[in-house]
């Protein structure tokens, strides 16, 4: 829990505080399997944080809490894996390995942990055995035989005439901007492009940049939110690992536009390949003179540091993300002040989702008009979506806004792999509503989806087949919600626990009591986690009341 002086303490240390306390603790766990009081004291001494505060950090993040054996197995409990197995893979693995999730064998040889999510939703279920992520048919047998193999990465394609986000970056938009245009000119172009944030909230990126650029400050920062925690989504993973240069280019452009010379990418530890890919791309960019000082003779300095989180969904919320970057517990802070005004180390900070930043190079290269024209729909630009393993052709696909959800599911993803009918889809992550098969003609865009209690969100599309038990789905989602609550605001901390208990009980669900609880979460929560978790439950109440067992 961050109190005023603790935040001030980290602020004074500023960017010198990497590796962060979170990263130092994570390394200690990786090396020795569990944290000791000595580890806490050592990290406190090294970071200048109070011992109690470091202990608070150590009890917050998944990776720091569960003991680790010589062989550490992590099983994905994301929603795509749920859609694939109804959760049976977790039980089967625990039974086969002879160790329960969250436990370590007495001899310290083996440990099992649940994780949400590994981002291999195109090939569920997914299991990480040591450094190897295996997924798809036969994964259980291979892991139990100690013969895990690396699962193939998902395919990626664009259905646009010219791909924008599915091509690796070549820095041409940045070269053009930094040598030919003023920063104000670039900022105006991004505003005009109507680029809305791709992380879920859809806030106009240009306006956010303008706030950060105009607040008087000695320093400014650009932060890429790579904490793609939404189960079922592997879009930012694809961008960070397959097109890391595109992200760095987008960050450098943001830095140029707002007058920042430092950028940070916060990546998830669930994506072990993201950080090395970004660091390699940053080294290449430095060698080519595209990051560093006086870039291309322009006088503009910019460089990027990659920081890894340690397992927490709510760290994807921007104030919690900044707390994690400062090495603290990833809890949410009330806004205002918004990060654009008072962000990382107290300085104006642009926090943008990875995909948002990856859209900027195209705008810088081709202009706002060309960007807006990518979609015939209401919203500008293109969007990456990704499909789960239930579909015939899962993968990452770049699509225009305005396309119907039915076309996405049936034509782009080829319908369900088993040829059966879709029961429902969940779009945009766990905070997104659930669209039943009867509403698939809804256009894929912000306003039409919102009208059905759904959202574009992160762009993941999880298809549920006819065999899906909707009460079990509610239980799965609320368990995730309760487990991931940061614990700061009361409605979310207690309310999600209670909502989970209501649907997990072997009894009918009292509709009135459930709805009063959902309202308390929606109107009372501090951030979108508690505020948004009721959305899919509301959908299930509206469309599947009988299956939910309402009384």
């Amino acid at each position: 829990m961050m109190s005023a002086n603790l935040v001030e303490l980290t602020r004074r240390r500023g960017a010198a505080s990497t590796p962060t306390a979170v990263e130092l603790l994570a390394s200690a766990v990786a090396e020795r399997g569990a944290l000791t009081d000595e580890d806490i004291r050592a990290v406190a001494a090294r970071t200048g944080l109070p011992e109690a505060a470091v202990h608070g950090v150590a009890t917050f993040y998944d990776d720091l809490r569960a003991p680790r054996g010589a062989r550490h197995v992590r099983v994905c409990t994301g929603t795509a894996c749920f859609a694939a197995t109804a959760g049976t893979h977790v039980e089967a693995l625990a039974e086969g390995l002879g160790v329960a999730p969250g436990e370590r064998t007495a001899d310290g040889g083996l440990s099992l942990a649940e994780t949400v999510c590994l981002g291999f939703c195109h090939s569920s279920p997914a299991i990480r055995d040591g450094e190897t992520i295996d997924a798809g048919p036969g994964v259980l047998q291979r892991v139990l035989a100690g013969a895990a193999t690396s699962a193939p990465e998902p395919p990626a394609r664009s259905i646009l005439p010219v791909p924008v986000l599915t091509e690796p970056g070549d820095w041409s938009g940045f070269r053009r901007a930094v040598t030919l245009r003023s920063s104000g000119d670039l900022l105006a172009e991004v505003r005009e492009a109507d680029l809305r944030g791709r992380g879920g909230a859809g806030f106009p990126a240009g306006r956010k940049w303008e706030f950060a650029a105009t607040v008087p400050a000695e320093r400014r920062y650009v932060v890429a939110n790579g904490d793609e925690g939404d189960p079922g989504s592997y879009i930012d993973k694809h961008l960070m690992e397959r097109s890391p240069a595109l992200l760095l280019e987008g960050m450098a452009l943001a830095g140029y536009a707002i007058g920042a010379s430092e950028g940070f990418v916060l990546v998830r530890s669930e994506y072990p390949a993201s950080r090395p890919a970004l660091e390699a791309a940053a080294r290449e960019a430095r060698a080519a003179g595209l990051l560093g000082t006086d870039i291309l003779g322009s006088g503009f300095d910019f460089d990027v540091t990659v920081v890894e989180s340690a397992g927490s969904y709510v760290v994807g919320e921007e104030t919690a993300l900044l707390a994690c970057l400062e090495g603290l517990r990833g809890t949410v802070s009330a806004r205002p002040p918004f990060p654009a005004e008072h962000g990382l180390f107290g300085m104006p900070t642009v926090v943008n989702n990875v995909e948002t930043l990856c859209s900027v190079p195209y705008i810088a290269q081709h202009g706002a008009g060309a960007y807006r024209a990518l979609s015939p729909g209401e919203s500008a630009g293109s969007k990456l979506v990704c499909f789960n393993e239930r579909f015939a052709r899962p993968g990452v696909v770049e699509v225009p806004f305005g396309i119907r959800v039915r076309e996405l599911c049936d034509e782009v993803a080829g319908g369900l792999a088993d040829g059966g009918g879709l029961k429902a889809v969940q779009i945009g992550g766990p905070l997104g509503g659930i669209l039943p098969a009867g509403l698939l003609d809804t256009p894929f865009d912000f306003a039409p989806l919102a009208a059905e209690g759904c959202m574009v969100g992160h762009g993941s599309i999880i298809g549920f087949d006819e065999a899906t038990d909707m009460r079990e789905l509610a239980r799965h989602l609320l368990r995730f919600g309760a487990d991931e609550s940061c614990g700061k605001c009361f409605p979310c901390r207690i309310g999600l626990e209670r909502a989970h208990a209501m649907v997990a009980a072997d009894a009918p669900v009292d509709r009135e009591r459930l709805e009063a609880l959902l309202e308390t979460l929606e109107l009372g929560s501090l951030c979108a986690h508690g505020g948004g978790m009721p959305a899919p439950i509301r959908s299930l109440i509206a469309h599947f009341p009988q299956e939910l067992g309402l009384a």
Binding site: I494, G495, A516, G524
Partner: protein, 213 residues
């Protein structure tokens, strides 16, 4: 100066004043649990929710600054309903009702909270009674963060921290080995601000016990 209306009464406040401060200065009572006027506003308990005209939902009055022309309704039905439900949730996480003299009990009386509609798991009992002046009963902790912030913002000792997350969130002294093994300077700021007696001065705890008997 900023002019706004609170419960139909026009008030004028200095820029930066929060809605909670303005309402209290105007004699309106807004209940709170995580708020302590000596500490920076935190916005965790959501008990101070109020209605604001044209806002999409209730707002937390402790973390919202007054704006020119704002129309605040401290009795807005949605705000009161949600705040009352939150207090109900808080009572449901404790193994037993809070002691009558505590701030939590007073707030529960204000809302007229009865039997919780959402019973369920409660916090396990765990005590640290080894410190000569301070008793720590973790099972009574509602994670309002006041003790952690008082230790930091009033005393500057940094002896306390929030721990865990979600429903298991709690508070620890030092590396959770109790007050004696922490940077605690025995100032008592944590016990003074605690709204549930999760941290209490040993002497006062004894006094309260004898009064009950």
């Amino acid at each position: 100066m900023t002019r706004l209306t609170i419960d139909g009464v026009e008030v004028e406040v200095a820029p930066g004043t929060t809605v909670l401060q303005a309402a209290r200065a105007a004699g309106r009572d807004i209940p709170t649990l995580c708020f302590d006027e000596r500490l920076a506003p935190f916005g965790a308990c959501r008990v101070c929710l109020v209605g604001v005209q044209d806002a999409p939902g209730p707002i937390a009055s402790c973390t919202t600054a007054c704006r020119e022309g704002m129309v605040v309704d401290t009795q807005a039905p949605a705000a009161r309903r949600v705040a009352g439900a939150v207090v109900e949730l808080v009572l449901s996480e404790l193994a037993a009702p809070p002691a009558e003299h505590t701030e939590l009990a007073a707030v529960a009386r204000q809302f007229g909270v009865g039997e919780p509609r959402w019973p369920g798991a409660v916090h396990p009992e765990r005590e640290d009674l080894r410190h000569p002046y301070l008793a720590f009963q973790h099972g009574l902790c509602i994670s309002c963060g006041r003790c952690v912030r008082a230790c930091d913002e009033i005393q500057g000792a940094f002896a306390l921290t929030a721990t865990g997350r979600g429903f298991t969130a709690n508070v620890a002294a030092g590396i959770d080995a109790g007050f004696r093994e922490s940077a605690c300077v025995s100032c008592g700021a944590c016990a003074d601000t605690c709204p549930t007696d999760a941290i209490a001065e040993v002497s006062l705890l004894a006094l309260a016990e004898s009064a009950t008997i």
